[in-house]
């Protein structure tokens, strides 16, 4: 059967509160959303699933506010980004430690690293914003303009984060024997 496009599904959810239509949207976007969170949390699958679930629930309750100015996926990434940073802020408030320490803490003490993939270790060397930008750019194929829309940063700032992240990751990869690609 031909897949209904996002706008049709959104209209069905907004107008008829058709939960089946929303279920189709969840099924379609669960993989990129959970993958995005997995990279932001450096492989914490439990936390990623919780954040992804909250993202979808917020998307459902605010779907009427979706104005189709951007694509649905960009809108969803923006909610996901806000969800992650809300979590981070509340986490920081309770622990009372600085951003750098949170970065380091994540890279060292996080429990559910899953398959211990090199990618999570490589991402752990980056700051949160750098990790967000590089994940969206290389893993989720978002353009710089779209990343700027998702994060609310100017395109120039996104480029700077990307450049720094790329440099740090390249250094890490070279140090870990990944420079034999050429």
């Amino acid at each position: 059967m031909k897949q209904l496009n996002d706008l049709t599904l959104i209209a069905q959810v907004v107008v008829f509160h058709n939960t089946r239509a929303f279920d189709q949207l969840v099924k379609k976007y669960q993989s990129p959303m959970r993958r995005f969170f997995l990279h932001l949390t450096c492989g914490d699958s439990e936390l990623s699933d919780d954040l992804a679930q909250e993202t979808f629930i917020k998307a459902y309750t605010n779907l009427a506010a979706f104005k189709n100015l951007s694509s649905f996926s960009t809108w969803l990434y923006r909610i996901a980004y806000n969800e992650f940073y809300d979590y981070l802020r509340s986490h920081k408030e309770t622990s009372g430690i600085e951003e750098k320490e949170v970065d380091n803490q994540w890279s060292i003490t996080q429990k559910n690293i899953g398959e211990q993939m090199d990618i999570y270790n490589a991402l752990a060397v980056l700051k949160e914003m750098e990790r967000t930008c590089i994940t969206l750019f290389y893993m989720e194929d978002q353009s710089i303009e779209k990343i700027a829309g998702i994060t609310g940063c100017p395109a120039g700032t996104v480029k700077s984060h990307l450049s720094r992240a790329k440099e740090k990751m390249a250094t890490y990869l070279k140090q870990n024997g990944y420079d034999g690609y050429k």
Partner: protein, 111 residues
Amino acid sequence: MDMTDINDDFLVQRFFTENRREIADNGFSKKVMRHIPNHYRRISTLWSIGCLVLAAILFYMLGGVHLMLESFRESFNSAIHNEVTGLDPKSLIMVVIVLLYLGYRKLCTLA
């Protein structure tokens, strides 16, 4: 962009491409749908019931019941005329029940 930048870009891009994977649903969607606010589910249920009632009224008002009974009668009569002796009334009732159930499911889907 100098040569080092190009190489770094290539290195990072290839690393990400090789590590990209699709995540299997494994019940995640069901879990999300269970946590969708009840308010909307209630509205959805009420909407489905409303549509079903409306459909039933329209069906009755536009002579659907009469037409259905007529067609059943005709089918039954033609079956008798064709001397189909093996026709089981219980099977016929089961078929009607299944058809009504499928009709109800279809109406709910439309709602």
